[in-house]
């Protein structure tokens, strides 16, 4: 009897630990995860990347934003800010698609956080090589640790970098069980996210555990770096906007950034009275209040005023 119990337990454990490689029920007609829909920046890079469009800009000291979206998102996350900057006319903007993102589920599954980060570094270096002398980086959610890691690891020559702006940075995830992803992920395979109607096709609906492991990895790296202390380059200022309630990026992320940046005179943290993750992106949400719109406009104007 004992032997039977031990054998049964062993089989159960083996089955539970076995890697689940099953594909999620992707709907090619509407899901970004499918093979039909890709991010528009893949088809029309000139509409998103300044380095690709190479517009005729007589004054290369004109401020340039490089906007970076978050985990599972696409360039759609910065569409409203892109239009705002274009209408304003005082700055230029380049919207980067993270590596491994905007394509199908298999590409997303394979990519590491270094792959996600690579297009940011490339765009910054390309713009610097084109002669732009006033570059600002703006990131949302996972875009923020990717930007901060690139700066702190000296992956960017920061001589032309002026401002870094974070919208709802994720240093600590709201879902703390993410820390267990390497243990439970192989049995789960992937997790599904609920999406609002207007978000279909712009965010991944299914999150392979391999991608979640990468998210866990970059947030852990940044927590450790912040514990050790990060000193911003002399010519760079960091502004952090953090919603006081957030289902994806735990607000305590702002406290870790505040504690971890050693040159506080270069840092400004602003707590936002919002419960939306990436409150600057309203397009695609089911419910948008007049307060949300007002807040978005105020923050966009504040960001432009920093230039």
């Amino acid at each position: 009897m004992k032997l039977f119990i031990y054998l049964s337990l062993s089989i159960c454990l083996f089955t539970a630990c076995k890697k689940s490689e099953k594909l999620p029920p992707i709907d090619n007609a509407i899901d970004l995860d499918g093979t039909t829909i890709n991010d528009s920046s893949i088809t029309y890079p000139e509409k998103f990347l300044l380095s690709f469009a190479k517009p005729s800009v007589p004054d290369k000291s004109k401020p340039v934003f490089i906007a970076v979206h978050g985990f599972t998102a696409t360039t759609f996350e910065w569409l409203e800010f892109k239009n705002f900057v274009k209408n304003n006319g005082n700055a230029l903007i380049s919207v980067v698609l993270l590596g491994g993102h905007g394509r199908d589920y298999t590409d997303f599954k394979k990519a590491t956080w270094e792959d996600w980060q690579a297009p940011i570094i490339k765009e910054y270096n390309d713009l610097r090589a084109l002669g732009y002398t006033n570059i600002s980086l703006i990131g949302s959610s996972t875009g923020c640790p990717l930007l901060l890691e690139a700066i702190s690891a000296n992956k960017l020559n920061t001589d032309v970098l002026k401002n870094v702006i974070f919208i709802d940075p994720i240093i600590v995830p709201s879902t703390k069980t993410l820390a267990l992803i390497s243990a439970v992920g192989p049995a789960l395979g992937y997790s599904s996210s609920t999406m609002e109607q207007g978000e279909n096709g712009f965010w991944y609906k299914y999150r392979p555990y391999q991608a979640l492991e990468q998210l866990n990895s970059i947030t852990q790296i940044m927590r450790k770096k912040l514990e050790d202390g990060i000193t911003l380059p002399d010519n760079v200022s960091l502004t952090v906007y953090k919603a006081k309630k957030d289902g994806a990026a735990d607000p305590i992320s702002a406290a870790l950034l505040y504690n971890g940046i050693t040159n506080k005179e270069k840092l400004k943290v602003t707590i936002i009275n919002s419960e939306l993750h990436v409150f600057t992106r309203l397009k695609g949400r089911n419910v948008i209040t007049p307060e949300d719109k007002e807040l978005q406009k105020t923050i966009f104007n504040e960001i432009l005023s920093k230039l």
Binding site: V172, S174, K176, T177, L178, A179, L180, N216, Q220, R223, L226, E227, D228, G229, K244, D246, D250, P251, I252, S253, A254, A255, L256, Y258, N259, G260, T262, V269, I271
Partner: protein
């Protein structure tokens, strides 16, 4: 909370009923706790165990006080986290050298968010209940080592909390010295 009160009542009932033959032993020691994916907190632990005649009764009650300032936040920019809890421990094969153990913890955690955020009125405090399972091992010189893995199954943050720094899964090692053997 109800569970913790029930446990304490059971212990008191046992002590009252068998007061003549029960002698308490007090153990004091150090505890090192690591949250999976987050900080290490170190501090002290104390346990009050009961001895009946020559054999040990299979339970004890105690408390832990651990601080990130003695762990991850020591000489670093990590947040200051203070953790206090009371626990009820049950020991299987309690007379043996190696004894599996189960624990229920109930306590409180306070995270210092720094002057700026606390100045805005945010104060992170949380009531926590957790379960631990592991082993206790008797060592020479009245020492005992306890290694457990734990899970915080209930975390209730106060209304003025700014997110939460409480991670659910942790591992801990304690080394205690028996003061009354």
């Amino acid at each position: 909370m109800k569970l913790a009160i029930t446990c304490i009542c059971i212990i008191l009932a046992v002590i009252t009923n068998a007061q003549d033959s029960i002698k308490p032993t007090i153990e004091l020691g150090i505890r090192s706790q690591k949250y999976t994916g987050f900080y290490t907190v170190n501090g002290i632990t104390a346990e009050y165990r009961f001895v009946k005649s020559s054999s040990k009764l299979p339970f004890g009650v105690g408390m832990n006080m651990t601080f990130s300032k003695l762990g991850s936040a020591f000489n670093s920019n990590a947040l200051s986290v203070n953790h206090y809890d009371a626990f009820f421990a049950y020991y299987f094969r309690s007379a043996k050298k190696l004894s599996p153990t189960l624990r229920v913890n109930a306590g409180y955690e306070r995270t210092n968010l720094g002057d700026y955020l606390e100045g805005l009125g945010y104060h992170n405090k949380a009531f926590i209940m957790g379960l631990e399972a592991g082993v206790s091992y008797k060592l020479p010189y009245n020492l005992r080592a306890i290694a457990t893995g734990g899970y915080n199954f209930l975390v209730v943050n106060n209304a003025a909390s700014f997110g939460s720094s409480v991670y659910p899964v942790f591992g801990q090692i304690s080394l205690v010295y028996n003061l009354k053997k």
